[in-house]
Subunit: 194 residues, 2 copies
DNA sequence: GTCTATAGGGTGATAGAC
DNA sequence: GTCTATCACCCTATAGAC
């Protein structure tokens, strides 16, 4: 079972480096120092590896985010915490995150619907915090969904340029993103049409 | 030559829908109603199609952006114009943009270096406008590169969710993004450490 | 310009020996 | 648990007939 996890991690590295479709089961076997027959003792299929990589990032991210949203704190504070948690995952698990943000369309059937459900829940949690901030007059937001996507885009796109970049501190980057975003949606800011 | 362009466009659609590596030359032939032999009368290789898709988006984008940066206008205005031009490309040429933002790592050799050079130039043009805004005291920016990437990420990530979404107006979306971003980097905003 | 046939080499997955 | 051999199929690209 430990061996299986090693194989999932090394697959994430290969998929992130060369793409899911372009990576052969033979390369995974080579990296694991296992012939193909032996490899299939540990895995069910190539796609099952893809599914496990997704879960390995998405499940802890959802857990942490649910906890943060449930906190008795201002919307501003909770949004900053979500930002830190998300960026920490993106930066510290670059390979897994690359795969889950880049290759999710290669999932099929039940694995695909499960993953879509989790992503939707994550987006809804962010929208909930933005909504709460409007209620409490912390934020002024015209279009909730597009604003949520602007927040998510600024964060998620990080996976594209962080690869191979020299060390970036997730807390510092989170502060930079949130300082921009929170000033941009602050009640009384120039964007509110007053 | 017209036929060739049709094949490039239909390839963009297939690559965006199913991924570059997962799309076979046979599927492209089927979509063009051409046997594989005849298809190769029009194209040099599968990768040449990928290269042409990239150029079809990147070249006009760079042209327009160079022109905007050269305008005698405030940094704020020029940044809003770049945002509109970029989002118009992303929304009106969804398939081509998907391919160029998602599959550029499948380019090899000279095609790859050429494309990287163009992307770098585009990023530098944005950084130039941000710099100009700092000079003119329109903007307050700590880390120029990370701030440029925050801007780019918010915009580029749009390609991920725009696919299949109902019609979105690029001008409206640009205003939403820029209202947030410009308030976030405005001189005298909460993020500047005053 | 378009076709069929084929080269030369991959693919994911399984069977069965050890 | 690990191996080799193999199945059935797919791939990009080219040759040469029409």
């Amino acid at each position: 079972m430990v061996r299986r996890n090693e194989i999932v991690d090394l697959s994430a590295r290969l998929f992130a480096a060369n793409g899911y479709a372009a990576t052969g089961i033979r390369e995974i076997g080579d990296a694991a120092e296992l012939a193909r027959g032996a490899l299939y003792y540990y895995i069910d299929s190539k796609e099952s590896l893809l599914g496990e990589i997704h879960n390995r990032v998405m499940d802890p991210l959802l857990d942490q985010t649910r906890n943060i949203v449930g906190l008795k704190a201002s919307a501003t504070t909770r949004l900053r915490l979500i930002s830190e948690v998300l960026l920490t995952q993106i930066i510290e698990h670059q390979d897994h995150v690359w795969v889950f943000l880049h290759e999710y369309r290669s999932l099929t059937g039940e694995r695909r619907t499960t993953f879509k459900r989790k992503r939707d829940e994550f987006e809804n949690l962010i929208s909930d915090v933005l909504s709460a901030g409007v209620e409490s007059h912390e934020f002024q937001i015209d279009d909730l969904r597009l604003t949520m996507l602007a927040f998510l885009g600024m964060h998620n796109y990080t996976y594209q340029w962080i690869h191979g970049a020299s060390a970036v501190d997730p807390v510092k980057l989170s502060k930079l993103y949130c300082d921009i975003f929170l000033a941009g949606i602050a009640a009384g800011s120039p964007g509110d049409g007053v």
